[in-house]
């Protein structure tokens, strides 16, 4: 396998977009291509991550549309739909093309326009990834699964609502430093948990999860340019190696898992990514985790191996996952505050980590970051892609 590098990264601001879907994707793509500064080196392939355009935006074959919008013909084009893990899956497809020698440069773009429909329809659309007979027909949604998961986690490990609130507060604070974030609004413990008004400010969504435990519904796009070593070595910029990618699956229906609090797919995908990267969790300087719900940041950080099981909420309490902590998690603001346009999320995680490793994450830069980790959590943990990136000194 040939080594693969991220040579360019860009994204749109997440939030609400008035732009057409493909224009949004094109904007992020152009930002990434500009960042890569490829000159006359052609783009061989375009991979687009998207989960719901066919249903929400009435548009299909968006990879072909993006190639056309960017005048990148005759580049190969294909779309990847893998639920909320579509973004990292698309990066993996681009990585494989270069590693296998089928391409020298691949543009990977994730895009989603979820605000085209109202919140109820968006929630229903995402719920369509659940098991159709065992979950969906009974009205199961992602927040409800996360609520059940949280209750179990609380019972077993002593996690309290204040720990979840600490995750939200941290990620909202981080998002304040990220100009691309959906939510630029700090929140406080008093405002969302301890004041009498908190009950109104932060109403329940799926107990014990409340509004500020849940990510917003976002529009947005993110893109990375992947290149072979031969191409990357000709570019002047710092080199970010895709050191390892791991992917694992679990049962579709959560109820069929022996232990529903064990995020087995996160554990296995992470182990595979670390092994391929020749790294271990303690080598990681910065991480982007899939905190669609605050509990997931806590649980994923344990399953990935950063903390012992049942200990991550204490690390959050000690400030270890803050920007200045031992292992900063979600410096971008995470899905919680940066936003979660599902198809774009996994790519946006790689964008943030690339900026971090290149020292370009102005305002939220983690000092001396050399190795980074991303967890893109598909389904309710039934399809997970983990990625390890490493900065190479030139």
């Amino acid at each position: 396998m040939r080594p693969v590098y991220v040579v360019g990264a860009g994204m749109t601001r997440f939030g609400r977009s008035e732009w057409p879907l493909v224009d949004l994707a094109a904007t992020a793509s152009l930002a990434a291509l500009h960042h890569a500064n490829l000159g006359k080196t052609p783009v061989d392939a375009v991979v687009v991550a998207n989960m719901g355009a066919g249903r929400i935006n009435r548009q299909t074959a968006i990879a072909s549309a993006l190639v056309d919008r960017l005048s990148l013909w005759p580049a190969a084009a294909e779309a990847v739909e893998n639920g909320p893990a579509s973004g990292a899956s698309a990066v993996k497809v681009g990585y494989q093309a270069i590693a296998a020698g089928m391409a020298e440069v691949v543009l990977v773009t994730g895009v989603e326009m979820m605000r085209a429909v109202d919140g109820l329809e968006a929630t229903d659309f995402v719920a369509s990834l659940s098991h159709p007979e065992a979950e969906y027909i009974y009205g199961v949604t992602l927040p409800s699964l996360a609520g059940l998961f949280t209750r179990l986690y609380m019972d077993r490990y002593g996690v309290e609502r204040r720990h979840l609130a600490l995750v939200a507060i941290k990620n909202h604070d981080n998002a304040m430093k990220n100009p691309y974030a959906h939510i630029h609004q700090p929140v406080t413990m008093e405002g969302i948990l301890t004041s009498p008004e908190a009950a109104v400010n932060n109403p329940p969504v799926a107990e014990p999860l409340h509004m500020f435990d849940c990510c917003p519904v976002s529009d947005g796009a993110a893109a990375v340019v992947l290149a072979s070593q031969e191409v990357a070595s000709k570019l002047g910029a710092p080199r970010v190696l895709v050191a390892g990618i791991g992917q694992a699956t679990d049962t579709h229906a959560v109820q069929e898992r022996q232990d529903p609090t064990d995020l087995k797919a996160v554990r296995l995908a992470s182990a595979a990514a670390f092994e391929r990267a020749g790294a271990k969790p303690s080598d990681i300087d910065v991480a982007e985790l899939h905190d669609a719900f605050t509990i997931l940041e806590i649980a994923e950080s344990e399953a990935a191996g950063f903390f012992k099981v049942g200990q991550a909420h204490k690390a959050v309490e000690r400030g270890e996952t803050a920007l200045t902590g031992k292992l900063p998690i979600n410096p971008s603001g995470g899905l919680k505050a940066k936003g979660h346009p599902v198809g774009a999320t996994g790519v946006a995680q790689i964008v943030e980590l690339t900026w971090q490793l290149r020292g370009e994450a102005t305002g939220r830069q983690i000092a001396k970051a050399k190795t980074a980790y991303a967890c893109n959590f598909g389904g309710f943990g039934n399809n997970v892609v983990a990625t390890v990136l490493r900065k190479e000194e030139r």
């Binding site: 601001r13 939030g15 405002g191 969302i192 009950a199 109104v200």
Partner: protein, 231 residues
């Protein structure tokens, strides 16, 4: 022939005695404190100025809410509406949102509009709750007639409280079939939806004595939330 003064008296609707709304303080999710208080007739010009830029914002039906609210506040200022009141929410003296309504008679109230400028902090929910509190607890009314112009409003009022249908009554806002908040519904919803602390300390009340407006660009960005599409 009647004098101008006599004519003016005919043009003005007869007014009822209305109790004042006692101000309250609400801690928002951000930790900021919002003071909710009644706005005087003399303060309508500054509120009209705040609303004006929203007349052309289609998103979330701000245009129709702003247009109707503009006319309602203007009518209040110029004595062309019966028994209207206006409540404002101020964060550090800056307008975060406003609500208005009127009394139909001693027992029935009519909710007009809820307009949020500072979005994402449930300012609208707090202000709408304050409006219901005014009708039921301070004016002692039995019910409030309500309609929504946007799906967001429908979710916030009709579903969250929840309201009852009273379709036989056409609401003043376009003749839309009314929904109603009763005393029973209000007191059932109160623990979930109505909050705030009284009395407001004098220094905080003084800080909310004058309504300051956020910049026009700030209002537009806060209201539309437009972010996507810009690299």
């Amino acid at each position: 022939m009647a004098s101008v003064t006599d004519l003016e008296a005919l043009l003005r609707p007869p007014a009822m005695e209305m109790p004042p709304y006692p101000p309250k303080a609400i801690t928002l999710a951000s930790g900021e404190e919002m003071i909710v208080r009644q706005a005087d007739r003399e303060e309508m010009p500054v509120l009209l100025k705040a609303i004006y830029p929203l007349l052309l914002v289609e998103r979330d039906y701000y245009d129709i809410v702003a247009a109707r609210l503009y006319s309602e506040l203007l009518a209040y200022k110029r004595y062309r509406v019966k028994d209207e009141y206006v409540l404002v929410g101020l964060i550090d003296g800056v307008l975060a949102g406003l609500v208005n309504g009127r009394l139909v008679d001693g027992k029935v109230g009519m909710s007009y509009h809820t307009l949020t400028i500072r979005r994402g902090l449930r300012v609208g929910s707090h202000l709408f709750a304050a409006k219901m509190e005014y009708h039921i607890e301070h004016c002692g009314q039995d019910e409030v007639l309500i309609v929504a112009e946007s799906p967001i409003g429908f979710r916030r009022w009709m579903i969250e409280y929840p309201l009852e249908k009273k379709y036989e009554v056409q609401h003043e806002l376009g003749g839309v079939p009314s929904w109603v908040l009763t005393r029973t519904t209000y007191f059932e919803a109160k623990p979930r939806l109505v909050s705030g602390r009284r009395p407001v300390p004098a220094d905080k009340l003084a800080g909310a004595a004058v309504i300051h407006l956020p910049g026009e660009e700030t209002v537009h960005l806060q209201v539309t939330g437009e972010k996507g599409g810009k690299a």
